[in-house]
């Protein structure tokens, strides 16, 4: 088998991301039926990042989810499950059809991740500011046992309002955790609106840099850029690394994009039809991606 070209690799990840966004819509519709809404905007802004991690970067084995040497992914912005569960399903941790239990009564797939290694979910998150400290603990454990795995932690930019994020940032720097990669989903919106008007963090990169981290800023929807930023050769030695991924909240469906009404929204069937079509699927959404 010949090795895939860079173009083919990128196209493959983009296709997975397209499938993930389609599955998110399915989940969004299921949630509405169950009387809930869904965090579509926060899920869509991070989808290209999780697709690149799960289908290209991370060492993981869905058949052996407790594999001690696996790379770990901690979703610190726990409300981003719509950009997370589809990646786990398409990786083979559980059947894609199970995504359709999202937010339904007694489902294992709820609005914020509930630790379940069988499903590849490493930690229970959703209370913001908790994921990075947990990721730091994982990375310290790996260092102590001289393991080679990497801990990836995805944070929201609004989440960086939390003081515990910066406590963990300092610990990671103190212990020179080069087995830890933080990614900030910089979509510039949070629950109450424009982040700049809530807590101004135009100096996001400078803040992380001043805490000792190597900072790289990328377009969080350009899979090639994401791949390159996450590549081993881009990673520093002896210090932690953060990728600030500039994203668009709701990226991929025109009427989701930059509209904070989709931070947590209820999808109508008409809206879903349009969204399916924009993603290149039949408007009835019946087509089911396979892993």
């Amino acid at each position: 088998m010949t090795e895939k070209t860079r173009y083919e690799v990128i196209a493959g990840i983009e296709e997975k991301a397209r499938m993930m966004r389609k599955l998110s819509l399915d989940m969004g519709l299921v949630a509405v039926k169950a009387g809930a809404g869904a965090h579509l905007g926060p899920g869509y802004s991070m989808t290209d990042i999780t697709a690149t991690l799960y289908f290209h970067i991370m060492k993981h084995d869905p058949k052996n989810p407790e594999w001690k040497d696996r790379d770990r992914f901690i979703l610190s912005k726990g409300h981003g499950v719509l950009g997370y569960y589809p990646a786990l399903a398409l990786s083979g941790y559980f059947p894609v059809e199970q995504l359709l239990t999202f937010d339904t009564d007694e489902s294992d797939l709820v609005g914020h991740p509930c630790m379940n290694l069988r499903y590849g979910i490493e930690a229970s998150t959703g209370s913001l500011g908790h994921g990075l400290p947990i990721a730091v603990g994982y990375a310290l454990g790996g260092k102590l046992d001289k393991k080679n795995f990497t801990v990836y932690c995805l944070l929201g930019d609004g989440e960086c309002d939390e003081g515990t994020v910066w406590e963990a940032v300092m610990t990671a720097n103190q212990y020179r955790l080069d087995n830890l990669v933080a990614i900030v989903d910089r979509n510039r919106l949070q629950s109450d609106g424009l982040s700049r008007e809530i807590i101004q963090m135009d100096d996001m990169a400078e803040k992380w840099r001043s805490f000792g981290w190597l900072v790289r800023e990328i377009d969080g929807h350009d899979v090639g850029e994401i791949m390159d930023a996450l590549h081993m050769k881009s990673r520093p030695v002896g210090r932690p690394y953060v990728i600030i991924a500039h994203t668009i909240k709701g990226k991929g469906v025109s009427f989701f994009e930059d509209d904070n009404a989709w931070h947590y929204g209820r999808l109508t069937s008409e809206q879903a039809q349009q969204a399916y079509s924009e993603l290149g699927f039949s408007s009835d959404g019946k087509e089911m991606p396979k892993c």
Binding site: M115, S124, P133, G141, L144, T164, E167, A168, Q174
Partner: protein
Amino acid sequence: MLTVNATTAKNWSELGARGTFGKTLIEVANEMPDVVVITADLADATKVREFSKIFPDRFFQVGIAEQNMVGVAAGLALYGKTVFATSFACFSSMRVCEQVRTDVAYPYLNVKIIGSHAGYAMGTLGTTHYSIEDVAIMRAIPNMVILSPADGAEVMKATFAAARYKGPVYLRFTGVENYPIVHKEEFDFEIGKAITLREGNDLTIIGTGSLVAEALGAAYLLEKDGISARVLDMHTLKPLDVKVVSKVARETGMIFTVEEHNVIGGLGSAVAEVLAEEGSSVKLVRIGTQDEFVHIATYPTLLKRCGFTSEKIYQTVKTRFE
């Protein structure tokens, strides 16, 4: 395993709960290679400095960032370590409450939260450093085990028991150096099983932490007046030894609980819950902080003022016993 005898009991008494904990932790770590320690700038105060020197790789310092400490402890435990996270009880219960609940207790992780200087041990350092709410907080969190050892020997036993127990534990240390000795010889320590220190038929005093010794002292004073008091050492506050509470409710006439904690949510509340649910008619008196912020004073003064000394417990029992 360390053994309890007159000499070790005396040494541990001199060291106090923290000192004994620090020494024990080294024995624990020698026995269990997965044990690690994390602290938030209180290595000296929680007596884990010696551990950090012997096991530098297994010791983590996060600075003055308690919430982060518990999150990092959760990550270490998720990875597979048995983690002792140390701070003052006021911080390791209140400051980190949500991290304990969500990051540690909910996923049932192997993290042992150390609350040192619980109650009023901080004396003139003041109310910011007192902890009379920690048991109530930890009791309300599902999956938490709460250990509250009575003396040095029990601190040693509780530390080993916590390390061997697979799951979250809150270890509450009360008292100061020159801890009163309760156990002078080897005894069985089992999580969730109270120890009957003294038999008696008229009433029962249930103590926890360093006030167990005061409860014993009160029982001796009562004996002189012809009142026969049973004394229980309730070293595990959760899960509570319900059986023994039912038993003393059946066998003795009245129950007094003694705790260096608010009467709301602690030992007294836990015992009241058992009695009420069983429909017991036995009268209960809860000796503890009477839901107030006390005026700051030295530790011995506060023990007296709150009614925690043997003499004061004796007086309360004499007044209230029917």
